[in-house]
Amino acid sequence: MTIIEKFNPLADEMFQVLGPDGRVVKPDLLPSWSDEKLREIYASMVFYRMADQKLISLQRQGRSGSYPSIEGQEAAQVGSGLAIQKSDFIFPAFRELAITHMHGVPLEKLYLYWMGNEWGSNFEANVAPISIPVGTHMLHATGFAWGLKMQKKSAITVSYFGDGATSEGDFYEAMNFAGVLNIPTVFFCQNNQWAISVSRAKQTAAKTLAQKAIACGMPGIQVDGNDIFAVHAVMFEAAERARSGHGPTLIEAVTYRYGNHTTSDDAGKYRSEAEVKEWRKRDPITRFKIFLQDKKLWDEDFEKKIIHESEGKIREAAEKAEKTPIPKPNEIFDYLYEKPTPALEEQKKYLSQFFPQP
C-alpha cells in the first residue's frame, strides 16, 4: 500500500513501471509472474486486439451494429483485470471488450450484444450489463459495493469509464457517495484522450483527471495506461485498499483510442494522423513484446501460434453469435417485470397477429 498513498495527483506525474520503449523503469515494482503467465498475458492482449478487429469487420459487412473499438486500450483493461478477483464485480461502460471477457463473459455473448440482441447482456459472470448512458453506471458500482459491504462480503466492485464520463454529475456523485460512505469500489477511468471529437483538454480545466478525487476526499492516481505492469500494480493496491476497508480510489489510466469512436464515426474529422502515430509509439502490446523479447520469451513462432489460436476462437464466437436465433416477439414484453402486466399481455396478443410465433 505505498504507490497510491505516496502519489500526489497535483504533482503532474504519471506512475510507470515499463517505459514506452519496453525498458523497465521501476524494476522493484515488477510482479513476480512466471514466464508462462507473462506469455499468456501477452497472448491475451493479442487475442483482444484481434477480437476487436473482428467486430469492426463484422460491422462493415453489416453483420453487427456499430461498435466502439478498444484498440490501444488493451493494457489498461488486461492489467486491471489481472489485479482483481473473480468474485469481484465489474461495471463496464461500452468500450470494455477485453475486461468483460477476461472477467468471464464468453466472447460470443459480447458479439451477440453488438449484433443487437439482449441475450448478449445476460452475463453469467460477475459483470454488470454494458452501460450506454455515459457516466451513469459508476453509481451502480458504488451501490453494489455498498450492498456487498452490508452483506459483509469481501468482494469489491470496479467501474470502467472514459475521460468524457468524468464530466457528468453522476460521476461526481458516485465518487462523493463512495468517499463519504467508505465504499469498497474502484473508479477506473480509461482516459483515451477523446470523447468522440472532444479532446481531453476541452473536457475540464483540471490538469489531471486523477485530481478530481480530491473533491470527494479520496485518493486519485494517474497511471500509464499502456503499461500493463503499472496498471496492474495500481489496481492491485486500489482493490486491496477497498477490500480492507480503506475505501475507494480513482485511477486515471492514460491511454489512447487508435480507432474511430465507433464504427459510425470518422476520427479524421477532428484529429490528426500524426497524433495517432505518436501514440502508437507507446503501444501497450509492442511495449510488452519488447519486454518479452528481452527475456527471450517471444519469437515469431509464438506470435504465429497465438494468432492462429485466436483466429479459431474468434471465428467460433462469431459463428455462435450469428447462429443465435433472433428474439421472438414475446420477448420484448416478458422481461419488463417479473410478471407481465395486463396491458402488456394485451399488447403481446395484438402483436402476435402481425408476427405469428411458431
Binding site: G143, W146, G147, Y337, T341, P342, A343
Partner: protein, 325 residues
Amino acid sequence: MPLLTIADALNLALHQEMQRDSRVMVLGEDVGKDGGVFRISDGLIEKYGEDRVVDTPLAESGIVGTSIGLAMAGMRPVAEIQFDGFVYPAFDQLICHAARMRNRSRGKFTCPMVVRFPYSGGVRALEHHSESMEVLYIHTPGLKVVCPSTPYDAKGLMIAAIRDPDPVIFMEPKRLYRSLKEDVPEEDYIVPLGQARVMIEGNDVTVVGWGSMIPIILKAQATLIKENISLEVIDLRTLSPLDTETILASVQKTGRCVVIHEAPRTCGLGAEISALLMEKALFSLKAPVERVTGFDVIPPLMKAEDYNLPDEKRLIAGIRKTLAS
C-alpha cells in the same frame, strides 16, 4: 387495531419490513435522526442503526443510482426523495436503469427497490413542493407506480411495494399524511399492486381518482347522494399497472365517468383512462368521459394555489356535465 394516520401507517410498514427482512434499507436526505421531514422514517435509525438507515449526501441521482446498485446486489433499498419536485435529478437513473435493468440483462439483474416521495399540493408549501407528475413514471415502461389514499392502503401497499421484485415509485399524498385516521391492523398484510378499489358503489356516474383527490370525491359523493345522484367511487391505488378491468366494469354499469387529478391536464392519466374507455366502452357511454384536472400550468405559489387544485365544486360541475348529456 390502532387508529393511524397515513404517516403513521407508512412508518409502521417501514418498521415492520425492516424488522422482517434484513435486506431492507432506508436511505435519503434527512431520513435518519430527523426521521424525514414528514417523519415517515421516525424511529428507524434508533432501532435499525446507521448502517441500514442512511442520511445520504444531498444528491437525488446519487440516491437512486446507488439504490439501483444496492438492489442489484440483493438489498431492498427504500429510497426517499424529499419532495415531488426533487425527483427529476434522478429521472435519468429511473428511466435508463431502474426501469431497464431486468429487461436489459434478460432477468440476470433486477431492481427490487422503492422510491418514495410526498406529492400533491394543498399544504401551502414552497415552489417545487406541490407537484403531481405521476405521468412521467407511468409513461416509463419498467416502473410501477403506487399512490395510496387511506392509512390501511398506505401500509399494505408499502409492504407490497417493498416486497415487489421490480422498481416501484411510491407517491404519498402529503396533504393527507395527517388529515385522517383509520384502524390499521398491527399484523403484516399487503394490498396487492395493480388492484383498484371500489370505495363506494353507485349507479349514476363512476368517479375515478387516487391519492389526494379521494377525500374530495367522497365529499362530492356525500353532497350528491342527497340529490339522489349516486356515484361509484374508484380509488386506483396503483397507477401503473392500471386496473383497467375495474374501471371498465364500473363504467359499463354507470355509463358515465369523471376522472379527477391534480396533475396538468394535457397527457395526464385522465387522458389515458378516457382513451381506454373510448376503445373499450364507447358504446356503453351515455356521455363523454369528463376530466377534472389541474391546469397546464406551473403549480402556483400558495396565494394562488387553490385556483389550480381541483376541488369539490369543480368535481360536482364535471359530474353534472356528464349527467346533462
